[in-house]
Amino acid sequence: MSDRIFGGIGLMLSLLYIWRATLIPDSFMSDAVGPRAFPYGIAAVMALASIWFLIKPDPEPEWPRLGRLAEIGFAALVMIAYAQLLPELGFVISTAFAAAYLTWRLGSSPLQSVLIGVGTSLGIYAIFHLVLGLSLARGPLGF
């Protein structure tokens, strides 16, 4: 069943892709092939593969229970929050939070997680910023 759903989504994705490709504006000058031909070809391959999944699905993969799906969803949300807050809070603080959360969810005790989170953050800061000179996000506190 999963493969059938996947095939359906894939088919929709390829149709969406073709639709977006038709919207590519014309340029003031065009080469002989044009900007749309290749995307059409790609979408065709994708659609054929998707139809194949519909007809001949693989055996069902083992999906996690709902709780675990939520776990993955939350981790993704934390990462998104991290990406957004990085420029606001600065590197060290936001990284410590994100690393501590992931460590906790992967099975460390809360206290351990905080320590590991802070340690990870400071360690990365030292290596990447102080040694390698990469410009990481500077928060209100300057780090």
Partner: protein, 329 residues
């Protein structure tokens, strides 16, 4: 000290009549920062790093210039960031070039225009060249243009920028000056960088090449390619003085890829004067002259208001040309 008076001083400094060290003592950046609107290793990145280093070597800035890479949208991401979030940051400068002006002129930075930032100064220019491979039968620029006029499909010209980009525009300017009616018929093939285009020229896939002088010097010296024309107002100094200009062949086309900086739009006047003054002093230093020579950069010494006017003019010219050709409506 009024603003007008200080600007007068800058103008005087530009003319070389006032000691430059006098300027702008009322502002010094605490954390000088240069945004390179591209990944590390590109042209803008190098502009930031080399200028930053030289400024520090000359003691024109108090501490190390921090170079921040902010890539995306051909410089559009950095431009939007400066306009929206860093508009009154006095410690910030951003690397720019003709590509910036071209994209501004063609509205390729959606919603942004050149007057949203303050243009500080240039640190040199790289003149365009049009070249063919050494064994080509084409001897000069008018001959090439004549061949394009007779049969546009017979000549494939390769260059390192996308269609509508600077390398492409240079050919179109020349074609227009040569009297080709519909310049859109000129067959331009875009490559990822001038080097790749030259390789295809040598391999025989292309008949002509358009690029900057600095990216073709190695092949000029080895005799693998023949430069038909340099798109400079007059002949260059030094080893390239033998290359004829397009102008002297009757095709009045000039194309300079300048490199320079802009700052945030609400930068204070004191900071503006400080940075344009610093770039001016940098430009006239021996250290920078040596770097320019090393990088094949030709002189383009414009700072402050003059540079602002220069960028305005080049944006206007590119806008007009792009409209004529049909790149923008």
């Amino acid at each position: 000290m009024t603003t007008t008076f200080r600007r007068g001083l800058i103008a005087a400094a530009l003319l070389g009549t006032a000691p430059a060290a006098l300027m702008a003592q009322d502002f010094t950046p605490e954390n000088p920062e240069c945004i390179a609107p591209a990944n590390p290793g590109g042209g803008w990145d190098f502009t930031c790093r080399q200028v930053g280093k030289t400024l520090q070597d000359l003691d024109l800035i108090p501490s190390t210039m921090q170079v921040v890479n902010l890539a995306g949208g051909g410089g559009g991401v950095a431009f939007a960031e400066v306009v929206n979030k860093r508009k009154d940051d006095n410690d910030l400068i951003v690397a720019a070039s003709s590509a910036t002006a071209t994209r501004l002129a063609q509205n390729a930075y959606p919603g942004n225009t050149m007057d949203q930032v303050r243009w500080l100064g240039s640190v040199g220019a790289d003149y365009g060249v049009i070249a063919v491979s050494a064994d080509s039968e084409v001897q000069d620029l008018p001959q090439l243009m004549e061949m394009i006029k007779n049969d546009p499909t017979s000549i494939s010209i390769g260059g390192g920028s996308a269609v509508g980009g600077w390398d492409h525009l240079k050919v179109l300017i020349a074609a227009q000056e040569a009297g080709i009616e519909d310049v859109r018929g000129v067959k331009y093939i875009a490559f990822d960088g001038g080097g790749e285009a030259v390789t295809q020229l040598l391999g025989g896939s292309l008949q002509a090449f358009t690029g900057d002088l600095s990216e073709s010097t190695g092949f000029i010296e080895s005799g693998d390619i023949r430069v038909l024309a340099v798109l400079a107002p007059e002949r260059l100094a030094g080893e390239f003085s033998e290359i004829p200009t397009a102008k002297e062949q009757g095709i009045d086309a000039v194309g300079a890829n300048w490199r320079g900086f802009y700052g945030p739009g609400e930068m204070s006047d004191a900071a503006y004067d400080y940075w344009s003054g610093a770039i001016d002093q940098l430009y006239s230093s021996e250290e920078w002259q040596a770097i320019m020579e090393a990088n094949g950069l030709a002189p383009l010494d414009l700072q402050g208001e003059e540079f602002q006017a220069f960028v305005q003019e080049s944006v206007n010219e590119i806008t007009e040309l792009s409209k004529e050709i049909g790149i923008i409506q």
